[in-house]
Symmetry: C2
Subunit: 464 residues, 2 copies
Amino acid sequence: MSDPVLAHLLADRTAFVARLAALVACPSVSTDPAYAPGMAEARGWWCARLAALGFRGVREVAAGGHPAVTAHWHGAGSAAPTLLVYGHYDVQPADPVAAWTSPPFALTPRHGRLHGRGVSDDKGPSLLAIETLGAFLAVEGRLPCNVTILLEGEEEVGSATLGRILEANRALFAADAVLSADGARWRADLPTMTIATRGVAALELSVRSAGKDLHSGRYGGVVANAAQALAQLLASLRDSSGEIAVAGFADGAALPDAATRADLARIPFDVAAHDAAIGAPPSGLTTAQFLERLWLRPTLEVNGLWGGYTGPGGKTVIPNLAQAKLSMRLVPGQDPARVVAAVAAHLRRHCPPGVALEITTHRDGSRATEVPGRHPLLLAAEAALEATTGRAPLRVRMGATLPLSDIVQRVLGLHTVMFSFATADEDFHAPDENWRESAIPEGFAAWVALLRRVGGPRRADFAG
Amino acid sequence: MSDPVLAHLLADRTAFVARLAALVACPSVSTDPAYAPGMAEARGWWCARLAALGFRGVREVAAGGHPAVTAHWHGAGSAAPTLLVYGHYDVQPADPVAAWTSPPFALTPRHGRLHGRGVSDDKGPSLLAIETLGAFLAVEGRLPCNVTILLEGEEEVGSATLGRILEANRALFAADAVLSADGARWRADLPTMTIATRGVAALELSVRSAGKDLHSGRYGGVVANAAQALAQLLASLRDSSGEIAVAGFADGAALPDAATRADLARIPFDVAAHDAAIGAPPSGLTTAQFLERLWLRPTLEVNGLWGGYTGPGGKTVIPNLAQAKLSMRLVPGQDPARVVAAVAAHLRRHCPPGVALEITTHRDGSRATEVPGRHPLLLAAEAALEATTGRAPLRVRMGATLPLSDIVQRVLGLHTVMFSFATADEDFHAPDENWRESAIPEGFAAWVALLRRVGGPRRADFAG
């Protein structure tokens, strides 16, 4: 361990965990307006920390939504590339809180993992990146390349205003590539680089049958049941084999070819163990089928549904209102707005008699993205992982979405390389979200190795 | 107005409303254990009032559930019939509380109606009956017949232990017929006697796909969605024309014949006005079709469903658990246990792959019931209504259930005549439950007239 920056980081590990605990303690749930104070706390924490580490231009930038936090260090000269280093400070709701083993906003170590909402997605991985950059400044007084930092506050709500923030501040965020501390690595036991993400789109629907809930004895048989109608609408989204039955849903979708399927079959992956680990019955899928469904095929999920009486005991009521939230994961070639329109048209076509259907969308979706195989930042990241793990990383894909990748491509014309030290099994978006303690030294080593390599390629290399 | 008992009651009307307000203020929600104190409050109120009115044997009787309140006056002699006068002190949940115009447990007059949970079902109508009996004792020192009072605490939870209470206290509740203050009259503009009720049965189901909620990007496509599976199961309960598609569901059901349908067609009823009044789109049904569906055909309703994320904004989660409550209304010939078994078998047969289905039942159901057309108490009630309204009442049926009628038939061998002064449009089981103020003088007059007529038939007349 001859690298002085890495040595500095490893010596400071206890303070790192204490800082992470302070950041996790800020309940920065972006989707729920009730958590606005937690959002402000998290921004305040980050601004103070970035200033203390020596970054310039620490400020909040907003475009009608939760502000992003930005800062920069541009002292490497105009021949050196500029990286836009990305993370996000917002988190998913902790709901259902009762399902957590320890309080969601109190960082709690257990069995070699740190537990808390956002610890893995994305507070821990973001802090790894920023503290590594800070260590370069502390130990060497400079960074190997120019760096602009962007910590978003709306990643968990589809990066609702990120595009507008970038559009309004193009000069501030001008860069050669995006290096993201978000976008978890696939597995802890295998070095991987994630080269593609699925897109996402979402909508909500409500079904109304009468002016109010009605007694099931006094009205049963002569008025439509909104909960029944909702169930029929949701069921209509699938055919009898369980496949998505929405006309136009997959229009334009690039489906995998035989070569891609063969590549998938060569990836070491135990489907049965995966099913068992999540407590699901055996899916019976082959590795290639499993990975194709997860990475290269679109999905349509009911994220939540509700209507009528849901308390203890019974209530013989006919619900007049039932609602559901739907979201879709998209593959290259699918346009989020067209997919939402196809689902909405399907729902309107299949709406049973006696109820009124209302469909709402709260945010733009994101397209699927893929980073070119010869991108210099991708190659540098692969080299850094090989150097620090001793194994050449495998190129994989991700079933989830980084709206970031789509937005920076569209607004700034930049590709995004994901370099996160979260792992996909860490229950982000679920109770008991956690982060491996071992990710801290692994992440420090890899970030130091990557940044030293980014000093190598000249800015012009990024143009391709 | 020459009847001194009626004059006494009408003079005391303000005090009646004050007493009703005190009773409504007891939040006696039987289905939710959190309301046990409100249940006890309501029992305490009734015991004190019954004793003050001069009834004997005031006490609570229980058989493992919420106690019933009972009292009696048996001074009319053994040749006079004994009526078991029934009401219930429990109420439906007030949920959703936000939908109420005034607080549910604060009696609030508005537009000629008294509003509050339970005011119509069944606190107001029960209090009418008991206060009328009390007025006979106050004015005349006696009742025209022997009376035993039974105020149940579990009507809104399917009269879960009423059968056991009666079985354990057969001597206490021995009578010639049941006269129920529950079982709302059909309409306010037309004197009616309800001669039949539908039965009821219920079950809950839960669908589980994995050990916990999962991220829709990182698992979408390779794990079953419990909410989607629930929707498919509920949708499978209906065929493409919306009819119940459960094998064995209607086994043994007595379907209406042509003569019954012709009777239905002669009942004055405006279907379009009814649809408009409840805020539903026009059903397009004829009066005969409407009444057949409401009175003479079984139903299967989703009373509530829930699963996944239901808060504000979006959450891209795959729910691992989704649940629903179902209830059915039954017609003569259907056995509640066999109907539940048929629905459960259907659900098991239609359960999609990748999820585990669990079905639970919390209570026994009730059979449909019908009172014989020549029953002396029915004839006395019809005569009382004709005398006080000037019109011969129409015989109608009820889509709702009085488990009472089934239980007293089974345990005590008694028929039940419903003599309620609630009306079916008063939103019981829904927000803004209300009761017409005009029901108070109408009810007083009718109860006085009926009780004077029950003094007429000798006990032996009830044997048929």
